[in-house]
């Protein structure tokens, strides 16, 4: 197809989203290490007690997932849509809003100024710029893809769903500010987890859409993202996003039908994604594998973690099993396996592809350290959760006595967390270096030329 060369405006800004995300990941992981050791050695790092280190860890790591996904969408969207971004200046405004709000959130935590719900504990007023920035992103996204000709591949549907439902569920997560919700604790708790379940689903849509784009770039094969399987995967993911949230709140005394719907929906989760990635891997030529081995390795690691977390998610979504696992470290194992094992490895694949980084000694060490430590981390959390869950349900032991029995596993989790942080640090360093140095040089050199409607380059050096 004849291609009109396109100037890829906004791409430098996209890289800054990724760099900001990497910084958020590194600092978030550091606070995670502090928080994990506070379980083992009470009072350690007194200046940042657990009441501060936990929200700092959670909010910063969630920020990494969003910033990493946003950077990928802004970077790839012009080539996918076949047109430049509708408003590149708005990308810079969006970045400015996020970069300005992030330090305010961190400062509010460090000063002990809370007020929001779990995971968004900052004062609710700081949610306004976050929603405003996201609205700009949504406007830019839809105005850009509206100019695209032809049917959408599955990853565009995934991105569009993630973009819209982030805003919907973020608004829903703030309904507690209204007396109709806050005066009824069961309603407030139910709606909070309804919103969070869907919010997680919306960032998964952004991340999995990105994984499809990365895979398409590696293979050069555009058919899988337009296949029936891909759309079936999208439909299942979307159904889970909408209705699968109640497995988080099985013990909460809301209507039983909420539990039944969630149980039925949860059983369908994840399966198709693992299948489609496996199919794609089979299509990879050996030469292409070597050429893009770094991004591919991370996608492969993501695939392994999908399988591990699929098993865990399916088990803990069965109400009879959930009785023993709910409110234990097994839930944390699932959250860590998903956010680090799946989301972070997929986003690293995307970042390293964009940064055009090599699979050198530092990255190799970081990759194996991250994944090796994560396996130990994950197993220790599961073991601690099994001890806590079993003793909580079957005995009348007080909380502290139960936690004393689980202590060896908690210590193992803290040690593994330090290893995980070391691995992440190496990867973050290399990725940021690649984006800052290599990315800038490449952008200055070729300014990007792409065939409209395709995610692969029309000529010249490979587009990443």
């Amino acid at each position: 197809m004849a291609a009109e060369p396109l100037r890829i405006a906004g791409r430098g800004t996209a890289s800054w989203f990724l760099i900001a995300g990497l910084l958020a990941l590194w600092t978030g992981a550091l606070f995670g290490v502090i928080g994990s050791w506070q379980h083992v050695v009470p009072g350690v790092v007194d200046a940042i007690p657990f009441v501060k280190s936990r929200p700092l860890h959670v909010s910063l790591v969630v920020a990494w997932i969003f910033l990493g996904a946003l950077g990928g969408v802004y970077h790839h969207l012009p080539a996918i849509a076949g047109v430049p971004l509708h408003a590149p200046r708005l990308v810079r405004v969006h970045l400015g809003i996020f970069i300005g709000t992030g330090p305010l959130v961190v400062a509010s935590y460090l000063m002990g100024r809370f007020g929001g719900r779990e995971y968004w504990e900052f004062p609710p007023v700081l949610g306004i710029p976050i929603a405003l920035g996201w609205s700009l992103f949504m406007y830019n996204f839809f105005r850009t893809v509206a100019k695209r000709k032809g049917p959408w591949p599955a990853y565009l549907w995934m991105w569009a769903t993630g973009v819209v439902f982030f805003l919907v569920t973020y608004a829903e997560a703030n309904l507690y500010l209204f007396p109709h919700f806050s005066s009824n604790m069961v309603r407030e708790l139910t709606v909070q987890w309804k919103a969070y379940g869907a919010l997680t689903g919306s960032w998964n849509m952004l991340v999995y859409g990105t994984s499809m784009v990365v895979m398409e770039r590696i293979t050069g094969d555009t058919a899988p993202a337009r296949s029936r399987t891909a759309f079936l995967l999208y439909a299942l993911g979307f159904t889970n996003l909408l209705f699968g949230w109640a497995h988080h709140i099985y013990p909460v005394p809301s209507a039983p039908w909420l539990r039944l719907v969630a149980y039925a929906i949860s059983m369908t989760e994840w399966i198709i994604l693992a299948r489609i990635i496996r199919q794609w891997r089979g299509t990879l030529g050996e030469g292409l594998r070597q050429r893009h081995s770094l991004a591919h390795r991370f996608l492969f690691a993501g695939e392994v973690w999908v399988f591990l977390n699929l098993g865990l998610a399916l088990l803990i979504s069965i109400p009879a099993v959930n009785l023993f696992t709910h409110g234990t470290h097994i839930t944390v194992a699932h959250a860590m396996g998903s956010t680090i094992g799946i989301n972070t490895t997929i986003l690293f694949a995307s970042v390293f592809l964009i940064a055009d980084a090599a699979y050198d000694r530092t990255v190799r060490l970081g990759f194996w350290l991250l994944n090796g430590a994560l396996v130990l981390f994950w197993l220790c959390l599961i073991a601690a959760g099994l001890v806590k869950g079993w003793l909580t349900v079957t005995t009348d032991l007080p909380f502290q006595a139960i936690m004393d029995r689980a202590r060896p596993f908690i210590a193992g989790f803290a040690v593994a967390g330090a290893g995980l942080f070391a691995g992440l640090s190496l990867l973050v360093w290399r990725a940021a270096q690649g984006l800052l140095v290599g990315g800038m040089q490449r952008i200055a050199r070729d300014a990007g030329t792409f065939a409209p409607g395709s995610t692969t380059p029309s000529s010249g050096p490979p587009h990443r």
Partner: protein
């Protein structure tokens, strides 16, 4: 078509979740003025970083769902810990009035149900028809 059907069902489910699916709590569990203030303070002091309700929250400290009604604990016990802390829980600088509001909140939460669940009737397909005495 499928997409819009799913969205319509989502809107319907959201409507029920905001109303009938969560309106079965007892009058004692509804948050009045002081308990509402306690709920706000629970967020302001970020108690959820360490504590849970119905197993939801941080795992540094114990679940507080029934702490205000549990034998051997109760409102006085909860108030003392809120004011003075423990070996593992820091003294947060909570005032007497704030402690009263937090205890009122904990009493309202305790009236909503029971956690952890220890006695349930399991079905062969892994569900349980009843968790709490009122059938929920």
């Amino acid at each position: 078509m499928i997409f819009f059907t799913l969205v319509a069902l989502f809107v319907l489910q959201s409507g029920f979740t905001y109303t009938s699916a969560t309106d079965g709590v007892k009058a004692a569990a509804m948050l009045d003025g002081r308990a509402r203030e306690g709920e706000r303070l629970y967020r302001e002091y970020n108690c959820t970083a360490c504590h849970q309700f119905y197993g939801l929250g941080g795992y540094m400290g114990p679940d507080l769902t029934n702490v205000a009604t549990q034998p051997g604990k109760g409102p006085g016990f909860a108030r003392a810990i809120i004011l003075h802390g423990t070996q593992r829980m820091p003294r947060l600088g909570v005032t007497e009035a704030e402690a009263d509001a937090l205890v009122a909140y904990l009493q309202a939460v305790a009236a909503t149900g029971t956690y952890p669940i220890r006695h349930v009737e399991l079905t062969p397909w892994g569900t349980y028809p009843e968790l709490h005495r009122d059938g929920r």
